[in-house]
């Protein structure tokens, strides 16, 4: 088991007029090889939660175990934790600073105290994973396109070779093509490199397509924690907390309501297509 979160509470600005409970008794287990979709609307506590996973925020109370070790135990090595649990922030391209793309991506591994050859190798590998070609290595990270910037920034975290990759809304502000590219690359990391992924998003479509488990946050609490089909079957409750199921869920539900005898558990367009086609062949 990679990460276990036990009774986690977090309060912003405690004992002031601005006090706000951001996380309320959160219990989650993330297993090796999981692809978790973490969803919730703005202010539900999902960004706060992911910042706990690598120790950037310290919980007000509760515990987090990484590979069985409590990260709040005395003398725990946070620097090592941060290279094991890679966290990609929202709009990560806003954190680029290097004079060249290569230098920027190499920042992470060079903080890990590796040899120059190793830093070089990891940087190349990471840039290769996100599809940045070699002729761009020496360009400034400020003169490439928005989608490329984001991929460079993600490479900056990948270069540290984390075991768990946490991405906070990696597709926010991208066009559909850029969004699909990023998500495909993340999915590839999961399938080919067997990386554990936590994808924070509020797009159900994004999450439904890739995640094997979905965690829904609302008001700092875990509302649902189940596989996509099971979570989306609660689409009425999801709507109540400002979320929605993927569009196909509604289509399948609508079809069933007007008399077609189909299975409504499809969460992606491919599954829906398969179900509808099989229904047609069944009827014929």
């Amino acid at each position: 088991m990679a990460i276990k979160i036990e009774n986690l509470n977090y309060v912003y600005s405690p004992k002031t007029a601005y006090e706000k409970v951001a996380l309320d008794k959160v219990n989650i287990e993330i297993n090796d090889g999981d692809f978790i979709g973490l969803i919730g609307h703005t202010g539900s506590g999902k960004s706060t939660l992911v910042q706990h996973l690598n120790g950037l925020l310290k919980a007000t109370s509760g515990a987090i175990y990484y590979n069985g070790q409590n990260i709040y135990s005395e003398g725990y090595n946070f620097k090592e934790l941060r290279s094991k649990v890679g966290l990609v922030f929202q709009y990560p391209e806003h954190q680029l600073f290097g004079t060249t793309i290569f230098e920027d991506v190499a920042f992470g591994p060079s903080n890990q105290g590796l040899s120059k050859a190793e830093i070089d190798e990891r940087t190349r590998k990471a840039l290769d994973m996100v599809g940045i070609s070699e002729d761009l290595y020496e360009s400034s990270p400020f003169e490439i396109s928005g989608g490329q910037k984001r991929r460079v920034a993600i490479a900056g975290v990948l270069a540290m070779e984390p075991e768990v990759l946490v991405l906070d809304e990696p597709t926010a502000g991208l066009d559909p093509k850029g969004r699909d590219e990023i998500l495909e690359q993340i999915s590839k990391l999961h399938l080919e490199n067997n990386m554990t992924i936590v994808l924070v998003s509020h797009s159900m479509e994004d999450v439904a397509k890739y995640a094997n488990r979905i965690i829904v946050m609302n008001n700092g609490q875990v509302k649902f924690n189940d596989e996509p089909k099971a979570v989306f079957s609660h689409y009425k409750e999801l709507e109540e907390i400002g979320l929605a199921a993927p569009a196909v869920t509604y289509i399948m539900d609508g079809l069933k309501n007007i008399g077609f005898d189909i299975d409504v558990s499809a969460t992606t367009i491919e599954e829906a297509k398969k179900e509808i086609l099989s229904y047609i062949s069944r009827v014929q």
Binding site: S13, A17, Q51, N54, L56, K79, R82, S83, G86, L87, V88, F89, P92, H94, Q95, L96, F97, F107, G108, N111, Q112, F142, G156, V157, M160
Partner: protein
Amino acid sequence: MIRDITIGQYYPAKSILHSLDPRVKLVGTFLYIISLFIVKHYTAYVLVTIFLLSAITLSKVPLKFIVKGLKQILILLIFTVGFNLFLTKGDPVVEFGFLTITDQGIITALKMGFRLIFLIIGSSLMTYTTTPNQLTDGLENLLAPLNKIKIPVHEIAMMMSIALRFIPILVEETDKIMKAQMARGADFESGNIIQRAKSLIPILVPLFVSAFRRANDLAMAMEARCYRGGKGRTKMKPLKYDKRDMITYFVMITFFILIISTRILF
């Protein structure tokens, strides 16, 4: 972390002091500060204490919050009291070697100490009860006559309010960038001065980029709404004196006259 720093230190509450016109509070604080320089006789100190305590009660700002603000001037306070205590000439009360505490010394030290505390509490009470934007609004209005001698009052006030508005944004941005770089293994705490200065580059470069981006966006947004300086500009919430503002002016002037009269009478 860094987001816990409060600048402008506005304390949100619903009180009479909060709802006063910012001009009244500015003029009132000004009168109050002048009167602190006039006080001499102890009756005046009693007056100021009563005045300040009632203002604090009316403001609904917790006393704990106000005392916390005094921490910043603690060293200055210790120095002022200390110097006055030991260096005032007069009738000696206690002597330790070359240091003597005199009768007059004790009195001046106490008076100076109280004066400083009153000064800080009084002026911070204004910032606790007035949002930075209200303050610049009030200031712009009060300084409007300076327009006649070609001082761009509106532009200065606009710059002030934009600067104030940007402080929390940039603080938050710094916090976010710091965290993002820490997630990539950056270390801001260890190493010698040169290494530490160097470790700031990954924060400062993105921060500058973001500040310029935001400034650009803001300029564009202002232009899109036809902002063209203060000339002929009207306000959605124009400053208007209320009955309670007039009463406050009256109270402040009475207080000021009382303080002056203690100086003349005693």
